[in-house]
């Protein structure tokens, strides 16, 4: 992976971390409910872990498959899926359903995993993953052997992404909890869902453009 690719992964991580629906708002709510910054801080790792799991699965599968399959098939197929998923998010009126608020740490990680997956967080990394070559690249003879190292590259990408996500999410949570207060939500909670969907579509298009 190049420095530019890492920067792109980190930037996407920051974007995910910024989204209140991805976790920091829940961490703040848990902290406020118990009047405890410790509870807030303790909520962040499980949320990051859930996000990491969601992203890593997609990243590992994409990278491994790409290492094993010749040419740009994966990138183009992935790009098409991404554009479709993005358009669906943009146009559909679905509503994510999760009633409980008193969650244990493992349940919190599960919540984060479902939230990230439903939003297609991992898919958003496709343009970066699809243009990353692991090792010497997929030669026909080594294709199958290359898959594990490809998966490793994917995991590395997911890790870099999640570190950035964790940092931004933590910063948002602490700043809102300690200094700004939640009334900021009324003005500053930009409709990230629409932007998010648009980014998904753009990422898909970009992937196809870069690899076709």
């Amino acid at each position: 992976m190049t420095g530019g690719q890492l920067a792109a992964l980190a930037a996407l991580g920051a974007f995910h971390g910024l989204n209140p629906a991805m976790g920091w708002l829940f961490a703040v709510a848990r902290g406020m409910q118990e009047r405890s910054r410790t509870v807030l801080l303790a909520s962040l790792p499980p949320i990051a872990a859930g996000h990491l799991a969601s992203v890593a699965i997609v990243a590992a599968v994409v990278s491994a498959t790409e290492s094993a399959v010749a040419g740009n098939t994966v990138a183009i197929a992935g790009g098409v899926v991404l554009v479709g998923f993005g358009l669906w998010r943009l146009l559909s009126a679905r509503h994510f359903r999760w009633a409980g608020m008193r969650l244990s740490q493992p349940q919190l990680a599960g919540w984060s995993f479902l939230m990230s997956s439903a939003h297609g967080a991992g898919l958003m990394l496709l343009p970066v993953l699809a243009t990353t070559r692991s090792g010497t690249g997929p030669h026909m003879a080594h294709a199958v052997a290359a898959a594990p190292s490809g998966a490793l590259t994917g995991l590395l990408a997911a890790g870099a992404h999640t570190v950035a996500m964790f940092a931004v999410m933590g910063a948002c949570a602490v700043i809102v909890y300690e200094f700004v207060g939640l009334s900021v939500l009324r003005r500053a909670w930009f409709n990230v869902d629409r932007l998010w969907a648009a980014v998904l579509v753009a990422a898909g298009a970009l992937t196809i453009a870069l690899t076709a």
Partner: protein, 467 residues
């Protein structure tokens, strides 16, 4: 429909909601007791600076007759900001309006012209029955993951009543909410402690027990509801039932604390069969379990038989009949409607276990027939019934009809129709009737008036996930 920034009527916490601007309009459910003309949602001007202040400025007739409009609610509210499934960019624009007798549900859009709500969807009784197994829809609450509607009756059977969930965006009936209802059978009101994953529900009676009027045999036989149910909101299962004692007939309205850190709430009991008194109770958590404690007791008022309607003559007294209560957004003042004696009481409930009476207003009443100062010679029937409080706690609105067939029993010479507005000293407590606000009689074109909803939200619409 989505927005780029959150709906300005959503507030993360009750503290923030206290600073909400004053409502410009109020929506009131009005129904024709004879079921020969359509029921309507009536719009009132509540802006004191307006020339039409206190007047009916809008009127939306519904397409059918015999619905008996009663309670209704907003499609979305501050619970949309709750962090587990936030959707802050939906709009508070639709009124979900159940017909308590017809079991139909209407969806009215208030956005384009707030003074003229437009009917956009009609959910037939068959859909509610077929998909959720319920009839007689009653309370509507905007939940974090859908619209919750309680219902008194079963689809074709008398019961059990329960809660149906409607889709947030399409308003389609998604189904019955309960996974496991235990032995819960009667239904009426419900609300929740969102951050605790707790839902509370109360009991009235099945359709045949109420639709033809209160049945004295059932009442004396202690057959109406007398229990509260506590549910796991996430698992949708009944966790605990508390019996108030079968002399305490009909625990109705539920008003949980708005502060999400607190886990108590108030419920009113219409009457005790032992002495016709009415009461208010507090539910609270004690060693992990819910307990319910009586904190307000209001005695019946003796009266001469000649002054009483036939239903009350054997008792020689007027029961207070607490049929609605409402809690201010700061959880400080509780308003208690004594519909029989015609009195609205205000209590400081800063300490929920020791309410302190801070105000009282008499209007109407079975024997009192107290007039409104705006029309001092007019003997009023009915009494303060549905109460709604503005978000800042400074204004309180009351209407006078309870429920068609029950109005007729307690006010057999006609319950009439009136609405009053009360100004509140939100600091010290105390209430004053606003003489400029008294729509009544012909203003409502012969219809009776029940629940009020305020534009932008009110004390019994929104729930909050942040303290």
């Amino acid at each position: 429909m989505t927005r780029w920034t959150p709906d300005p009527t959503f507030y993360p916490s009750p503290r923030d909601a206290l600073a909400a601007p004053a409502e410009q309009l109020a929506y009131v459910a009005a129904f024709d007791r004879s079921a020969t003309r359509p029921d309507a949602i009536v719009v009132l001007d509540t802006d004191p600076a307006s020339g039409a202040y206190g007047k009916v400025v809008g009127w939306t007739d519904l397409p059918h007759t015999g619905d008996e409009l009663h309670h209704f609610g907003w499609n979305a509210c501050s619970s949309a900001l709750c962090p587990t499934a936030p959707h802050p960019h939906v709009e508070r624009r639709y009124l979900i309006v159940p017909g308590l007798r017809s079991s139909r549900l209407y969806v009215l859009d208030t956005k384009d012209d707030p003074r003229s709500p437009k009917l956009v969807k009609e959910i037939p009784a068959e859909e509610l029955a077929g998909k959720a197994g319920y009839s007689r829809p009653h309370t509507v609450h905007c939940g974090p993951d859908g619209i919750y509607v309680s219902a008194l009756g079963g689809a074709s059977a008398e019961g059990p009543g329960g809660i149906a969930v409607l889709d947030h965006t399409t308003f389609d009936v998604r189904g019955a909410w309960e996974h496991d209802r235990g032995d819960q059978f009667f239904a009426y009101d419900f609300w929740w402690h969102l951050t605790r994953d707790v839902l509370v529900s109360s009991e009235w009676g099945t359709p045949s027990m109420i639709e033809n009027g209160i049945d004295p045999e059932l009442l004396v036989g202690r057959r109406y509801g007398h229990r509260l149910h506590f549910w796991d909101l996430a698992k949708r299962t009944l966790v605990q039932t508390v019996d108030l004692g079968d002399q305490y007939q009909m625990p109705l309205e539920l008003r949980p604390a708005h502060d999400p850190r607190r886990e108590y709430g108030f419920v009113c009991v219409v009457t005790s069969v032992e002495d016709l008194s009415a009461s208010v109770w507090v539910w609270h958590r004690e060693n992990g379990q819910f307990a319910v404690t009586k904190v307000i007791d209001i005695p019946a008022e003796p009266a001469a038989a000649a002054d009483l309607p036939p239903a009350l003559q054997p008792f020689g007294a007027v029961p207070p009949l607490i049929t609605d209560i409402d809690l201010s957004v700061d959880d400080r003042f509780l308003y208690v409607s004594c519909w029989g004696t015609g009195e609205l009481k205000q209590f400081d409930v800063s300490d929920p276990f020791h309410p302190r009476e801070t105000g009282s207003i008499r209007l109407g009443g079975v024997t009192g027939r107290v007039a409104h100062p705006a029309s001092p010679t007019e003997r009023l029937a009915g009494g303060p019934q549905m109460v709604e409080i503005s978000r800042d706690g400074s204004r309180v609105y009351v209407t006078n009809s309870l429920y068609g067939s029950w109005d007729d029993q307690f006010y057999p010479d006609g319950v009439g129709a009136w609405m009053a507005k009360i100004d509140v000293d939100a600091g010290a407590g105390g209430m004053t009737l606003d003489e400029r606000f008294f729509p009544h009689g012909d203003d409502f074109r012969g219809l009776r008036v029940h629940q009020t909803r305020l534009q932008g939200g009110d004390a019994s619409s929104d729930s909050y996930c942040f303290p």
